[in-house]
Amino acid sequence: MQLRPILSTLRHHRLTAMLLTLQVALTCAIVCNVAFMIASRIAGVSMPTGIAESELSTIQSTGTDPHQNARALRDTDLAALRAIPGVESVVAVSYALPLNRNDTFGPVCPNQQVFEQAMRASSLFKGGDCPLSSFYDGTPGLLGTLGLQLVAGRDFLPGEYTAKDDPPVAVVSRALADKLYPGQEALGKVMVMGGNAVRVVGVVATLARPNPHGMGDGYASVITSQLPGSTSEIYVLRSAPGDRERILKAAEVALFKVDPTRVIDPDQVQTYSQIRDAYFQRDTTMIGLLIASALGLLFVTALGIAGLANFWVQQRTRSIGIRRAIGATRGDILHYFQTENFLIVTAGIVLGVLLAVLLNLLLMTHYELPRLPLWYLPVGALVLWALGQLSVLSPALRAAQVPPVVATRSV
């Protein structure tokens, strides 16, 4: 295949070819960055929480009678909920669950000395040696109901639970244990949180925070042995995934039967999947939009390539006929248009890769996006080459069908 005739034709259509090159370049730059954004959002949306998400449902209840005995009522509630067929276990928590945004967090120091140092330097809330961590609480059986995986130590003993706000023991996430006591055994260590000394009795593999994208590490979590104390709490029910909708309806009825004066916000009666979807809702919207725009861009570029190639084939019908008449095969004509497209798209990709990196730098300064991994660039190039060849195929085949006799016809 000789490049010279192609290059000379392209030189003739310099401006048009340049515009097509520019379009391919812009598409390459935008699509590479958009693909990267899609990948990072998908990674974010699929973050693990460490709990048995598909088996959990939650219902929030608020007592309205100030003279009620909240603890006695809670025990009655728990018994009523446990009696619902299909419910495997149930616990009450104050308000915090992974990804439900009800976050109470504070600095947790590895020991008294570090705590006092941080107090003196008034650097407690700056993270550092005392990582900011979220606090979870719950009634006995929390670890089992949530499906948390204990990797060291044990769950709380019955005597360790307390209604006061000075819990003696805690279970921490492995992420927090590794941060507090790097290279050491966390079990038995005494942490300082909020001025209280709390002993670590267990470590769970993973436990995401209620708002993992807030300040600090998204997995720095502490479960204390403090019992929920207010009149408002969230009941967490574990069941088979398919039973959850039915169980939530039954739970609402059961709770109103125990205390008709309570308030249950219909929006707070939800399966855990709904909590997760709500947390990532903006990201899923964004993923959809990003995919749509990437596809739209590729579509328009393919249309542009095909449209122009089609037009050029019409325009050059006579010269194609002449070439065929003097001995060019159909394959030659086909290859001619394919090569022409390859040259234009390649020029576009070279420019596009540069633009992609520039665009990424721009996005990094304005939207706190990470650096574009370089392997996106060759993948993007391959996609555009394939797209170009696919779009040019039909016009090129049509060109190859032009019979040599066209050459003999006058204009």
Binding site: H13, L15, T16, L19, L20, L22, Q23, L26, T27, I30, V34, T62, T64, P66, S122, L124, F125, K126, G214, M215, F256, P260, T261, R262, V263, D265, A278, Q281, R282, T285, M286, L289, L290, S293, G296, L297, F299, V300, T301, L303, G304, G307, L308, N310, F311, W312, Q315, Y367
Partner: protein
């Protein structure tokens, strides 16, 4: 000239009809680019719209800085000095330096309906002072708001929004009825009509400002007296206030003033600086008195940065898409125009000036622009329809108004004309003689 325009229009339609596929591609490209851009621009437009047309220019919110010098602002996750402390808010209110002024805070109360068939429920509302209603122009369906005397007396009165009044009392007039909120009986003195500024500019950052609305209003003094608590951000430093909302080291209140002229606004700003200087002398404030600010309503919305980064990113993405579509149309137009070099040179030889050729092709691109714009409006309506079905709090307001509709068409015509500039310029430079020879 009119005749010529008609003639060019005729030429344009003929030319476009001759190459239906190419024309279709160009209209589709403009339509997709415009549709995507206008969807996002409309979302941005409704999100940054003026919540109080006609009043916003006179509304301001003062900002003081009572935080200690060594303050750990990271602990709050937002600027604690965005709100006022009780002593400062009361001082500004009593100073009465503006036409109207009101203090407010978010409330969240349990309503216990008297009707037996209704369960108790929680509602969002606002604790505020008398001027709130006149300053913001809240319309009343029945009754009226409370007076400054009610504020002073911590009167047990409440103003309900129409929807809450209807839920509690049906179609009967709620004014004069009693409603039990929290542990207290309050007398309904007024019912507002459907009133929901969008965004809810006076609410703090905990609010979903595009979807939440206040369903009740009651005097702030009453709320503090009855210890009703607030649902907004509460930031404390120094000694723990233990729930005492009158603490001088707890910010939780919003303050709005009405100032009719720029001179009054400048005077009020000076008053804020003087007040801060005086507080600094008294030892209450530690930071420079010039930290005191006066935000206009629209300035405050900019400061609060209500538009999520994602929405801005979507808009840039849509504009990038439009750019690619325009380059696409440009390439197609260029190929199309240059193919008619023969026709051009004949017209040039017959006396057409370059300008005539330019106008002729310009009109062809305007026709494409109008068709693309119509398609763009349809695509944008489809895009906005899908935005409205998302659960985001701003989703429900994503609608195109008449001005955005016109802007869409204008942008489409503008985009296609921009795209045709280079091709038309190139086409009108076709030399008459050279092309005639080849014919």
């Amino acid at each position: 000239m009119d005749d010529m325009l008609g003639y060019y229009l005729d030429l344009a339609l003929r030319s476009l009809k001759r190459t239906p596929i190419l024309t279709g591609l160009m209209v589709l490209a403009i339509g997709l680019g415009i549709g995507a851009s206008m969807t996002m621009l409309t979302v941005l437009h409704v999100m940054t719209d003026d919540p109080m047309p006609g009043r916003s220019a006179q509304l301001y919110t003062p900002h003081l800085d009572p935080l200690p010098l060594k303050s750990n602002s990271a602990a709050f996750g937002h600027d604690a000095s965005d709100h006022l402390t009780w002593p400062d808010a009361m001082a500004l209110l009593k100073a009465h330096r503006a036409q109207r002024q009101a203090v407010m805070a978010a409330g969240y109360l349990l309503v216990r309906p008297a009707a037996a068939d209704l369960r108790s429920f929680y509602v969002n509302g606002r604790y505020t002072t008398a001027d709130f209603f006149t300053m913001f122009g809240v319309p009343f369906e029945h009754g009226s708001s409370w007076s400054a005397a009610d504020d002073a007396a911590s009167a047990h009165v409440v103003v309900l929004a129409d929807s809450l009044a209807r839920k509690l009392f049906g179609s009967t007039d709620a004014v004069g009825k009693m409603v039990r909120m929290g542990e207290n009986d309050l007398r309904v003195i007024g019912v507002t009509t459907n009133w929901q500024p969008s965004p809810l500019f006076y609410a703090d950052s905990r609010t979903k400002r595009y979807s939440d609305r206040d369903l009740f209003f009651l005097p702030l003094s009453t709320a503090v007296d009855l210890n009703l608590g607030t649902d907004g951000n509460v930031d404390s430093w120094g000694k723990m206030p233990n729930g005492d909302m009158r603490s001088a080291t707890t910010t939780w209140l919003q303050f709005w003033v009405q100032l009719d002229t720029p001179t009054q606004a400048a005077a009020y700003k000076q008053f804020l600086i003087d007040y801060s200087a005086q507080q600094k002398l008294l030892g209450r404030f530690q930071r420079p008195a010039t930290n005191a600010k006066l935000y206009s309503l629209m300035g405050w919305l900019v400061h609060e940065n209500l538009v999520p980064g994602d929405v801005r990113l979507q808009m840039w993405l849509a504009l990038g898409f439009l750019l690619v579509c325009m380059v696409n149309v440009m390439a197609l137009l260029l190929a199309k125009f240059l193919r008619r070099s023969g026709e051009i040179s004949v017209r040039r030889a017959l006396g057409a000036r370059r300008r005539d050729i330019f106008v002729q092709f310009g009109i062809e691109s305007v026709v494409i622009g109008v068709a693309g714009g119509v398609l763009g409006v349809l695509i944008a309506e489809l895009g906005l329809w899908s935005v409205r079905h998302r659960p985001d709090d701003y989703a429900h307001i994503a609608r195109m108004d008449a001005s955005m509709l016109l802007a869409t068409l204008a942008l489409a015509v503008f985009a296609s004309m921009m795209a045709s500039l280079l091709p038309a310029w190139r086409a009108c430079r076709v030399a008459p003689a050279l092309q005639l020879k080849t014919l």
